[in-house]
């Protein structure tokens, strides 16, 4: 045992010294690079920036700023908060970071993000969608440039719907009736694939009922799940979920519904984002199949208004400790100007709404974007407070609440347990 340990420690010691050499090496190079030329490191999230688009943008930016090099690093959403926290605490953080719109204020309160209030004109602040702004501002200061937003719609298999004689529904009642028909027409497939922890979907139902995920109570926040509104929202979610055989204790990303579930077949409809629809189509085509998806907004309680949806999206922020803050701001302004946003929208086939809504590409008829743009006015976001990001960290209390209720626990009791955790987390900065 001891010998093994010594050997292991010896090897580890060697590796550390090797790594140390490597570290100082690259450090030297960087210093040299910064002497004459400047480099920017940009973190973008997986699925946010189509490669051809961002490469094109950077080429243009580098041409406009001679001697500049932009490095793009693609990050995964899983455990991103831990990674961003660590990165922001370092001396050489990424200069520009893409942050989820529900997480941005959480970093703004830590002082890790540069204050962009003085650069509003340069960034084109006045052209920005007012709906996206709140997630980038805190106490009257601007900490990030909103970039894009997107929301979920129902994606359905046209063939399955046609076979069952179902047309896209306008109300929740029609939606459920359609699912019943789908089940009767094909007992083997799932009328809808809906895992138990798709909490952004639940948030929409909750808003439809007039409820909130969390509300301000005096100068403190408290959770909004132990309420009749949440129980009603969860009740509808449960009804929908009963038409799915998806796991009750997983979210839509485990297994990844777009590429691991839907392409396997047997799913008549599912709720997803634009990039998920694209991923599913690509996976089906890769397997030699052919997809024929239609899209409709999540139905509301009445036909005059579609269901509320969570406005997912991203902001671009500059790290406070960035060595090239001015250049980083230049890049930010460059990426969020109308021309780049238009090409960005085209690269995403209109599946996103750019921050400058005048740059919105007119969506094709029958496309994902067409269904999504219809719900732009009912898009909402999570509570705007620095503590909200804590609530979303795993284990996420909202997900736990959903699983419990789906398994038959009393919504009030499960809601109280979840609210306790939400209050604990949301009130710590």
């Amino acid at each position: 045992m001891k010998r093994k340990l010594i050997a292991a420690i010896g090897v580890a010691g060697m590796m550390v010294s090797i790594a140390a050499c490597g570290g100082s090496d690259s450090g030297d190079k960087k210093d040299k690079a910064e002497g004459g030329n400047k480099s920017l490191t940009v973190w973008v999230m997986d699925g946010s920036a189509p490669k051809e688009w961002i490469d094109g943008v950077n080429k243009e930016f580098e041409a406009a700023h001679p001697g500049t090099k932009v490095n793009v690093e693609v990050q995964q959403w899983t455990d991103i908060q831990t990674k961003v926290t660590t990165a922001l605490s370092e001396d050489t953080p990424p200069d520009v970071l893409e942050l989820g719109n529900t997480q941005t204020t959480g970093y703004a309160v830590t002082g890790g993000l540069a204050d962009l209030s003085g650069d509003k004109d340069k960034l084109g602040y006045n052209n920005w969608s007012k709906g996206m702004l709140p997630s980038a501002e805190l106490d009257g200061k601007l900490y990030a440039a909103p970039w894009w937003a997107a929301s979920r719609v129902v994606i359905y298999d046209k063939a399955a719907y046609k076979k069952a004689g179902v047309t896209p529904p306008k109300t929740r009642g029609e939606w459920i009736d359609g699912l019943k028909k789908l089940k009767a027409a094909d007992a083997k497939s799932q009328p809808i694939y809906l895992p138990g922890q798709s909490w952004y979907v639940l948030a929409g139902f909750l808003w439809d009922e007039g409820g909130e995920l969390a509300v301000k109570d005096g100068d403190k926040w408290k959770g909004g799940l132990a309420t009749p509104q949440a129980a009603a929202a969860m009740n509808f979610y449960k009804e929908l979920q009963s038409y799915s055989t998806a796991p009750k204790d997983k979210d839509e990303a485990t297994p990844q519904q777009s590429v691991d579930v839907v392409p396997k077949g047997g799913v008549a409809s599912w709720i997803g984002l634009g990039w998920e629809a694209g991923g599913a189509i690509a996976a089906i085509e890769k397997a030699g199949g052919k997809s024929d998806f239609g899209y409709f907004p999540i139905p509301g309680k009445t036909a005059d208004k579609p269901g509320s949806v969570f406005f997912g999206g991203s902001n671009l922020a500059v790290a406070e400790r960035s060595k090239n803050q001015e250049l980083a701001k230049e890049w930010l302004a460059f990426v969020t100007n109308k021309k780049q946003l238009e090409s960005y929208g085209t690269a995403n086939k209109g599946g996103i709404i750019p921050v400058d809504t005048s740059a919105q590409v007119t969506p094709e008829a029958g496309s994902f974007a067409e269904a999504m743009v219809k719900v732009a006015e009912v898009g909402r976001i999570t509570p705007i407070t620095g503590g909200w990001a804590n609530v979303e960290t795993e284990p996420n209390p909202i997900k736990g609440y959903m699983t419990k209720v789906l398994k038959g626990e009393d919504p009030q009791k499960a809601g109280e347990e979840a609210d306790k955790v939400i209050a604990e987390r949301i009130n710590q900065q």
């Binding site: 001891k2 010896g10 010691g13 830590t110 055989t245 204790d249 987390r425």
Partner: protein, 340 residues
Amino acid sequence: MTVDSQGTATAGSQDAPGRAAGKSQTPPPPSGAKEALQPSRGRRSLPGGLLPYLLVTPALLSMAVLLLYPLISNLILSFQSVNRRELIRRETPWIGFDNYTELLGNSEFWTVVLRSVAFTAANVALIMAIGTGIGLLLNRLGKKMRLVLSLALAFAWAMPIVASVTVFQWLFDEQFGVANWLMRTLGFSGYEQHNWFETGFSTFVIITALVVWGSVPFVALNMYAGLTTVGTELYEAARMDGANGWRTFWSVVFPNLKPFFMITTFLEIIWVFKAFTQVYAMNQGGPDRATETLPVFAYIEGMSQQHYGVAAAISILTIVMLLVAMSFYFRLILKQEDEQ
């Protein structure tokens, strides 16, 4: 008989760790009496002067850098309030024992402690029982089968942990898992979409299967190595006295290999108690935090929730608990040395 085996047992204690590491040491000739003489011979051949110290210096230095320094930093961190905000701002406010009092007064923490102890006890008992059984089997098998079994054990032992966790996850997957398929094929009902990770207990059963599977080879192979040192005449004598297999094990094998059992059990306790990868990777401590053992609890509080100070306090408390458990082992060893 009894006196003789006692003697070999105590003598064995000196080279037991070496034997546990295995293979490099040539097994002494199969005679109890000779083995009893061996340690003193080993001691005489130690070189004197500065050389031993020089030889251990690199190991000690790297231990100081890689273990002692992080340990001390961790200890300091456990007395500070460091969360996401403090980490980014590089503030380290000193809060004394606040992290500890908060934890010790938290019922959730004690649930996790009890869970960890029960998890460790169940796993170590299973590992030791199955490992010993397979070790005995290896000793009795013919050459070919022994080779096959040894290879199988070595493969299980060599499998990277995360890879094996992924395999187990897929085996027990709710929608596409082979376990559900098997149960259905065998004619059990209710396994159409059975979720093996639905409850904490069921998740623990799968984690236990994985940990035991991964740890049994170590015990079995070492058990076999140890058995080769037990003289065949001892078995013969036992058989002459009319002892059955069970009796032979407890009267001949166990006393002879007592040091082996002790060191292996304690090593397994350490390994299982601090097993992180298997437990975390299987279901991230879920469902609903029901499979969080101490190391997983520390990780989730620290990395996921970004309460670095509290997480450091949890890990310090974990170390203290392990030290208490280990003190029994060291006391046993010291007592044996005194008796000698």
